[in-house]
């Protein structure tokens, strides 16, 4: 590995074209990466919380507000037409991005959390009844647990967690054992937000579908790292957020297989989602607008479109190869820190790591790192059941992205050494 002394511009593996991964150029696309924190260069390793935004995303939103702002699907005037076209174009772009069959299978929502709540309220209330079961896993983010608990409470159903192994992988036999005639849905994360595990979604979908059970996938942590192909995964719902994939906050996507979406009642009522309203009868718009009540986040949708373009320009092959090397380097360096343990050693991992240090609470590690300009997250990462599974209250989470460098991993290691020095 040649990363250690590489400086911010350390080129790692060659791009598919044979050119080195242009990390300097990638970094220059993100204005915030030039700033300093506590007098030190910002080392942003909290990407799983939210990723930074490239200039193109910021610019797309600014341009929309400066030149094109108007409501969609309403006006006969030029600007409204332009806004509507731009909005619909992003829907088509997202459809291609995740290889959905049809544009109308793409529903714009506020984020992954709203996407899952939409399915729980709309699909769930129709399909899940007293005595039924929803299968999740112990590694789910709270946002893929609590909406199901709320639904279960309301209809008298049960949420059943599939076990996670010591390596931090979903136990497939455990899932198989839980599936039965009362299972109405399997809801699993694609990539763990806390320990980076990449779950074998295709296998899990095959298991569930063998019983005729639909599958929802929480893809919030997958889209910044992996190409997502809902056709190949075979899942019935796929949820993700714009802000984790270098796009704006406040916008996300629910992919739903057409047969499911068409059978589902509206999630919220309001303008835009109706076909005709009268006091004797109101009929609803076809999908996906049926699920998009009210004026949507139009500027954010344009930003999301720019984020998709950004990821496609760099390309997931290049991102995947680069991040794999970065993760291997982080693993190698972390192994040299005394009294440090990495939680979960899944065979397939995205560049997200949770660590604990003997005798030093994660919050204190986080404070020491912050003073060195290194941003990480300390806490339970909205994964309390997974923390319980590993017998810890909290961890320090290091989440890498396409603009991080070997030199930044070095800054992390230096910060951890400083924490050790301070706390003994």
């Amino acid at each position: 590995m040649t990363l250690a002394g590489g400086g911010a511009g350390a080129a790692i593996r060659a791009m598919p074209s044979g050119a080195p991964y242009p990390v300097d150029r990638v970094r220059a696309d993100f204005p915030i990466l030039a700033r300093r924190v506590h007098g030190r260069p910002l080392v942003y390793l909290d990407n799983a919380a939210t990723a930074q935004k490239p200039e193109t995303v910021i610019e797309a939103m600014t341009r929309y507000y400066r030149h094109d702002n108007a409501n969609i699907h309403r006006g006969v005037h030029e600007l409204s037409v332009r806004a509507t076209e731009a909005y619909d174009a992003v829907r088509a772009k997202v459809r291609r991005f995740i290889n959905a069959a049809e544009d109308r299978e793409i529903v714009f929502v506020r984020g992954t959390t709203e996407a899952i709540n939409l399915v729980a309220r709309s699909f769930g209330r129709g399909a899940v009844g007293r005595g039924d079961e929803i299968v999740v896993s112990e590694m789910e983010h709270h946002s893929n647990i609590v909406p199901w608990q709320l639904l279960a409470e309301e209809v008298g159903a049960r949420v059943r967690p599939a076990p996670v192994t010591d390596r931090g992988e979903i136990d497939l036999d455990g899932v198989r054992d839980l599936l039965g005639p009362r299972t109405r849905l399997v809801a699993l994360t694609h990539v763990s937000n806390a320990i980076g595990t990449i779950n074998p979604i295709e296998d899990l979908v095959a298991l569930a579908h063998a019983h005729g059970i639909p599958v929802l996938v929480d893809g919030a942590q997958a889209v910044p790292h992996l190409p997502v192909d809902v056709g190949r995964l075979g899942c019935d719902f796929y949820a993700f957020s714009g802000h984790k994939m270098f796009g704006p906050t406040g916008i996300g996507v629910l992919y739903g297989r057409r047969e499911f979406l068409e059978a589902m009642p509206p999630y919220q009522g309001g303008g835009g989602m109706i076909a005709k309203v009268s006091f004797s009868e109101t009929t609803f718009a076809p999908i996906p607008t049926r699920f998009e009540a009210g004026t949507p986040a139009i500027a954010e949708v344009t930003g999301l479109g720019a984020a998709v373009e950004y990821l496609e320009t760099i390309g997931y092959d290049a991102i995947g190869a680069y991040e794999a090397d970065l993760l291997a380097y982080a693993d190698e360096r972390l192994a040299t820190v005394s009294g440090l343990r990495v939680l979960g050693r899944a065979q397939r991992r995205a560049a997200v790591l949770s660590v604990v240090m003997d005798g030093i609470h994660p919050h204190d590690v986080g404070t020491v790192l912050d003073q060195a300009g290194v941003a990480v997250r300390a806490g339970h990462h909205c994964c309390q059941p997974l923390m319980d599974r590993f017998g810890v209250d909290a961890t320090v989470r290091v989440s890498l992205a396409l603009y991080n460098t070997g030199a930044e991993v070095d800054a992390l290691i230096d910060g951890l050494a400083q924490a050790r020095e301070l706390f003994g």
């Binding site: 506590h38 005798g359 030093i360 609470h361 994660p362 919050h363 204190d364 404070t367 020491v368 003073q371 300390a378 806490g379 339970h380 309390q384 923390m387 209250d393 909290a394 400083q418 301070l422 706390f423 003994g424």
Partner: protein, 150 residues
């Protein structure tokens, strides 16, 4: 590192490593749990009173160095004090860690606890330092319920 040493004074590090009065008071009905859901800190503070005087006070739980050391030093500071005196200490302590009372002005009322003045430079850690005090207050009021800093 200078700022960090200001926050993590050696006395604080010592109390984190070897917390004092780290136990339960058996039979005491005056206890309360402090819970900081953001970071998972959880402390249980129990007290026994002789009239109006805090005869014994102890804590248990897990948390960061600031929350543990704060609880440990708090137990030392309030033992033997009246309920009213402890309450005043909490007020001064809170003013100090939120930067509204200079450490030199806090020292007469707080003594050793003035060590936590550095916390005011780290706003996100104020809750860590004050968690045990909230729990103590609830225990003195014999609330016997979980208090939260969120």
């Amino acid at each position: 590192m200078a700022d960090l040493r200001e926050l993590y004074q050696s006395v604080i590090l010592d109390h984190n490593r070897s917390p004092r009065n780290f136990r339960d008071i058996t039979g005491s009905s005056r206890w309360a749990e402090g819970n900081n859901p953001l970071c998972g800190d959880r402390l249980r503070v129990s007290v026994s009173l002789a009239g109006d005087v805090i005869e014994d006070v102890a804590f248990r739980g897990s948390g960061c160095a600031i929350s543990k050391a704060s609880a440990s030093l708090m137990t030392e500071a309030v033992k033997g004090k009246t309920v009213a005196e402890a309450s005043t200490m909490f007020d001064r302590f809170h003013e100090m860690v939120t930067g509204r009372l200079a450490p030199e002005d806090a020292k007469p009322a707080l003594g050793k606890l003035a060590l936590f003045a550095g916390v005011s430079e780290f706003p996100v850690r104020v809750k860590c330092a004050s968690l045990c005090w909230h729990a103590l207050k609830a225990a003195l009021e014999a609330d016997q319920e979980v208090v939260s800093t969120e």
